[in-house]
Symmetry: D2
Subunit: 383 residues, 4 copies
Amino acid sequence: MAGNTFGTLFRITTFGESHGTALGVTIDGCPAGIPLDEALVQKELDRRRPGAHAAASDGTPDPRGGRLNPAMTSRKEDDSCEILSGVFEGKTTGTPIAIVVRNTNQKSEDYGDIAFKYRPGHADYPFRAKYGVRDYRGGGRSSGRETIGRVAAGAVARAVLERDGIAVRAWTSEAVGISCETFDEEAIEQNAMRACDSAAAEKMLARIIELKAAGDSGGGIITCRIAGLPAGLGEPVFDKLDALLARAVLSVGAIKGIEFGAGFAAARMTGSEHNDAMRSGTATAGGAEPGAPLSGKPDFLTNHAGGILGGLSTGADVVFRAAVKPVSSISIQQQTIDTDGRDCDIEVRGRHDVCLCPRIVPVIEAMAALTVLDLLLQQKALR
Amino acid sequence: MAGNTFGTLFRITTFGESHGTALGVTIDGCPAGIPLDEALVQKELDRRRPGAHAAASDGTPDPRGGRLNPAMTSRKEDDSCEILSGVFEGKTTGTPIAIVVRNTNQKSEDYGDIAFKYRPGHADYPFRAKYGVRDYRGGGRSSGRETIGRVAAGAVARAVLERDGIAVRAWTSEAVGISCETFDEEAIEQNAMRACDSAAAEKMLARIIELKAAGDSGGGIITCRIAGLPAGLGEPVFDKLDALLARAVLSVGAIKGIEFGAGFAAARMTGSEHNDAMRSGTATAGGAEPGAPLSGKPDFLTNHAGGILGGLSTGADVVFRAAVKPVSSISIQQQTIDTDGRDCDIEVRGRHDVCLCPRIVPVIEAMAALTVLDLLLQQKALR
Amino acid sequence: MAGNTFGTLFRITTFGESHGTALGVTIDGCPAGIPLDEALVQKELDRRRPGAHAAASDGTPDPRGGRLNPAMTSRKEDDSCEILSGVFEGKTTGTPIAIVVRNTNQKSEDYGDIAFKYRPGHADYPFRAKYGVRDYRGGGRSSGRETIGRVAAGAVARAVLERDGIAVRAWTSEAVGISCETFDEEAIEQNAMRACDSAAAEKMLARIIELKAAGDSGGGIITCRIAGLPAGLGEPVFDKLDALLARAVLSVGAIKGIEFGAGFAAARMTGSEHNDAMRSGTATAGGAEPGAPLSGKPDFLTNHAGGILGGLSTGADVVFRAAVKPVSSISIQQQTIDTDGRDCDIEVRGRHDVCLCPRIVPVIEAMAALTVLDLLLQQKALR
Amino acid sequence: MAGNTFGTLFRITTFGESHGTALGVTIDGCPAGIPLDEALVQKELDRRRPGAHAAASDGTPDPRGGRLNPAMTSRKEDDSCEILSGVFEGKTTGTPIAIVVRNTNQKSEDYGDIAFKYRPGHADYPFRAKYGVRDYRGGGRSSGRETIGRVAAGAVARAVLERDGIAVRAWTSEAVGISCETFDEEAIEQNAMRACDSAAAEKMLARIIELKAAGDSGGGIITCRIAGLPAGLGEPVFDKLDALLARAVLSVGAIKGIEFGAGFAAARMTGSEHNDAMRSGTATAGGAEPGAPLSGKPDFLTNHAGGILGGLSTGADVVFRAAVKPVSSISIQQQTIDTDGRDCDIEVRGRHDVCLCPRIVPVIEAMAALTVLDLLLQQKALR
């Protein structure tokens, strides 16, 4: 399995390279009758587009009418999507939905340097080792543009999840060494960092401008919350909800770690501190209860478990955090080898993101939505 | 997919409950001609057995001839394995290998309390929500005994990996709040914590004895290293090596987080700090290079990437860390609800582990070995 | 995928060789709450057991209290099953159900001849070519005993299908050159051939006694009918209902062809002859209709389509026929080569079936039930 | 699994409806370094195009420079393909290959009649039952145009198989009641029926002209031969080579049966007639032998087995026959019901094929090639 397919019942297959003809996705297993058009998909694609954010702090005019985001590359990516199949009279039909985005902005650049030198922190060397050949133009298949297919499919998944009252939301909780100190959900889409703390976002942007001037880059942490899940989602052994979310999130380039609930801090807690006590809930059970009726749904007094016990959702919010590494493309000189195995130096020129956090937020949301929807459909099968 | 199957080409399916008739695994896709007998499997099963460790610090005599390990339950588990199929004249035949371990030590206990109350930190409530029914005896399918099938299959996977010079090794690097400060590989299997620092292990055991006396429990961190991988293992999009390892490791109960290389610390590094510089390697390339010859294999001057770039192995050691939560079964009184949804309290009695780290080490090794072998077989298919 | 797993949501994995320690199956994805015990499984296993049929026509006493079936080997196979997991208090729990049957009757035979010569019509040569090694004892994994796991799992699948009013029934419609001329459903389990025509069964048995005396064997045709399916089962492209049934049935050793409805005869019909006309049905729709209500369910005036159009069930009975080749083990001398590649002759001695039809009937039923149940669960997921 | 994906290691996902925006396929798992361009794919697509055959017997001028084929619809389908990804500098890169064909010739027809009446022999009714909604334009997803993606992917698979000397060839062996009596391989692509007997082809075409005049249609039989397979391909239980080929071939619309080697005739043979005797072969073994060397490769004196024993290839040619039902769209008046469940009559107007055989030949070849290549890659994994 060459690994471009994700999911079992709601199953997507992505394709496309940074500088090829087009990128896209085929979604198989979408329920019939879901309202879907290109606008719904385009809205999510626009969120991952570079420079697309309206509220950048430095005031540079954005050619699309907003202001430029200093965290992001100034490369223009239109990323207009087209739905090729699976929709009839404005609704899904149950057949595969293919969505493509043509690459329109590939400059006929001179790729000489990165064609013959392996960029540190990039997949250049292991790609060459794996396949013998390599599409070096802009990172090829390992470019961040690969996420276009994920985000397009995620938009469809979210539309389906909404039917069941499930909402996926992610935000930047730390970037370039600066942590958010407050949580303001309204602020997230209002600042250029997609941070949950506007004041912290300003500091992050100031630090990003410094890093950019130095030709350097930075990392950060994304937090994601999935609300509205019924209890019992996930499977108890290899397909634990946290295991599948971890795979989904680590499959995004630049993510180097994930933790659920208390996460690594749980390693230093005692059982009496960590266990989430339960009290009788006021809400009626909305869960996935086949057969016998389930009397009562608990309220969890804390959520150190991050909404997951034994790999199954508890009905509390699922919460995880993902570590984003600093952008690998930096214009500072670095030591590397060339494709003949000789020592050389490289400075990676071009327009690059400084910190990926704001652009990765919609990708994480997409992966979480895809994972949860697939498990939800599987759960329905067994009633 | 009810999620009891793991892997694509080297594929295992596990079964069994804590207090059912037997637990086990079927391995499908094992190459033919690999020497295999029950002793090879039993050796790994013995490593995950409670109280099996010979070098416990408190001197309590172990009924099997060693000394009792205070971190582990004193429950006796014989866990003798039997190979039912797939081996002929001492070698694998390419057909499925079924391995079973009978449950011999189930006391006919009174399960009344846990049958009717949901234990905090356990999967009791979401199991009931998912299936409507629940085998409450000893945790049923969500018991730690479920890992018997994983460890048995892992033993076979490791035997296959040895052909290719790949070695998987894990150890406790932190437990009950105490971190290892030195790395002594020889020490790992010599101390009751499977820690890489014998002095730290002594401190951990002392703390564990205190926790046990208080009816409480603790967590820790496991580090794992995979050495000898060719460059290019893994797939560049959804089946990234780190994504599949994350799923494998998070599928183990009690694991709440994973990080690769610099991991969460990478979030605070700059690109120039984090990128691993390369210099021309002295070793000849031993990797997975189809087609064009690969001139030269790099030496990485650091390993912040944890041996993985763009989801593919780089040829450097793969290194990850996993967070282990404190054992959920504690005899301290906790708030919960009963199966009728009414508030109640619970004290979880019985013989329980205090800290899972030493017993989880062989499970993590098994999951890492299974993941890597499956990708290795997939890689061979495409040459 | 080494191919010992079948199904997506209701997924089975079988293991075991003819003369190994045990054979069996693990069933993953069985809904919780289904009543299940060993008697239910044993009943189906007994139907595939050699010599187990009570009503053989030649009057030879059966050591189990019936009369010997001349079509079948006189080898004694007890085939007692044991359920190892997945059942609690008499019901399935949603976790994997492992079922094993120990091999108790392996004579310590001298296998010399078949160990070193490839039997014509058997998989001996391609097994050796595939794996390099081969468990030659009684056919190893390619023995008919491999179907024990299928039949055990099929028994569980049929128990689940009964909830939805779906019934799978197969019978011998032709054997050793003699065709059934009437259809008497009651007769099927009353005669030693599982034929739908008792008079034809007598003629088949007479012919079988002749073939046995000559050391030869014969083939036949099995017909299978699946009643009670909702309309719309199956998937419209690669997972057409007929495609998946064909794979399921051709995966049974000795099956050389399958046809649905008019089948090969359709090749000579015109469209106006073949198309099944529809009239407004009296029954209310019992099908798999999501979304918009479906007014009216058609009656099909004929069933040349065998209950399947475009890969989807129509609501009419699904009907297919499968060709069974003559038993390959014959005591007549045949030309072959030995494992050193030299010409030699072979006479396959031992107790063998003469015609597989009566024993294959329950296997075909099992495979059809497993296929249909898996699709039914998938269909539920998309509502 | 909504069933638009086929294969495990060489895995394709198709999409598209008859009158949607585009149809296509994504190929995942194609080895890197295979020469590939649009011309290679287009050549196969042109073979399945209606009216594309140069040598039709009735002399009608073909707008593309040949003569019209009376068996096929006169609808113009350009079916120009575009490769969107996965190819760099004329070779595959190991990343997914997306190929699309835009629908350019959809007349803005009045679909009123087929929108509200279920056509007999078509999937209209079960589609509606399955999904609640239905894209009725030209059959939607169940149109024969769905095979465009299969044929495009098959072209790539065949290019890979050529490296290993494996050739897949299919032809019409019977159509509209007329059987081929000779086998002339050269003739196949020279006559409008893709028949292996030119004289029979003339008679078939004459009969087709009669059927067309009557508004009726006919069926036929396709034979397929796969040459050059190593011994041991396929898996011994559920993934038998014949089982997977059966699924692949029955997944093509209009196929109602398949048989291997002697097929249904085997049901009437004795074992001594059916078993294929072996003699020491002169050829050296070219097979898939891991481990121990395989001395000698047999010559099979007959091929009743169709090149498959126990689900594994024997090294002899794999041969199967598939039954093609008559085209369902006929202009003769038929009884049916409308979408409100009321009785009505229908005459299916428009330009339709009379007999599908010549157009299905390249589809069968594609499905056989895809099946065999996937198993070949799996086999390589286990060496």
